[in-house]
Amino acid sequence: MTQKSRVPLTSIYRVFFEIGMFSFGGGVSGWIYRDIVEMRKWMSHEEYLSGVALTQIMPGPNATNSAIYIGQLLRGASGATVALLAMLTGPFLAILVAAFTYQWLLGLPGFQEAMIGTAAAAIGMLLRTGLTSARMVARGLAPILIMTATFIAVGIFHIGLVPVICVIGPLSVAYAYKMSGRRLEHE
């Protein structure tokens, strides 16, 4: 376990406020990965990705679940609470403002198209994140097979998240456990 330096709560708030404010169309994990793992190095990519798998099988939006997982890892209960509140502050205010102005907003020519473009850009960020982490995860045939199988089952055949993770997850973990035992024997 790497010793983590204490990340200030104000930094957690700032980062997640910003992420929440610009989370259009659900593709926000791309931004989270870039900010938390790549730029700030608050956690390793394995800690992040296993957190993704862990929190996605639980109820709630992936974005807020990731915020809670990351906040908790960094600063425990206060970190998780701050991250969740930060993530919701901007969108909460934005949706109230939008409720006042929506007839005008939706009537603006091109407004919905601009929002679609914003969502598309967010999905592009997520695609790049997925490809980057795929390259890091793909260290051997087994992880590649597991990754591909998960992708096909959920992305193409639309099998529910919960059954997929409950079947593939244990297989993958059992394999990792066996491999770590083999590594221990070598040492």
Binding site: S50, G60, I95
Partner: protein
């Protein structure tokens, strides 16, 4: 007061049922808000849904708008808490157990083993989200270009890419594409 309590009674269980995000609770949310509680009409529901799609944040924040309709700011606040606190507590509880065992062999195996699953889920999410935009063909090149641009310039602030994406689609609309 009574209305606020109704909000919590209806929304809190949906919070715990929202597996995989808002998509899984739109149907029961619509049924409850329109048919059972009469918070909004069917037509209003569609409008509110459209708002929630063009504002940032999780799609289920739509529920805050019902709170707003029936009890103003306080209603919106109560609805938001009812929607996110229950699921967040579950995630937090599991996370606590998860972090307590950090460093053990089975924990490392879980982390190593779940990483490729999480990665496959990320990529599947890309496909699902992208397919919701397939009726706007311009969005496909935007997705691919942003992905490539981010790989080339990883230090550029994501907001710039979002802005460019929005602008490109707006201009395409102006040009009649």
């Amino acid at each position: 007061m009574n209305e606020l309590l109704r909000l919590v009674i209806v929304l809190a269980p949906l919070s715990l049922a929202a597996f995989g995000g808002a998509a899984s609770i739109y149907a029961p949310l619509q049924h409850q808000a329109v048919d059972v509680e009469h918070w909004v009409t069917a037509r209003e529901f569609v409008d509110l849904f459209a708002i929630s799609r063009v504002t940032p944040g999780p799609g289920s924040l739509l529920g805050a708008l019902f709170g707003w309709k029936i009890a103003g700011f306080l209603g919106a606040l109560v609805a938001t808490l009812a929607l996110y606190v229950p699921s967040s507590v579950v995630v937090f509880a599991v996370g606590t157990v998860w972090n307590r065992h950090r460093g053990k062999r089975w924990h490392s195996a879980l982390e190593t083993g779940l990483a490729p699953v999480g990665c496959g889920l990320l990529l599947a999410g890309v496909l699902t989200l992208a397919s919701s935009l397939f009726d706007h063909p311009i969005s496909i090149p935007v997705i691919l270009c942003v992905a490539a641009a981010m790989a080339f310039w990883p230090k550029v602030h994501p907001f710039i890419f979002l802005l460019i994406g929005g602008l490109v689609c707006y201009l395409a609309f102006l040009c009649g594409l």
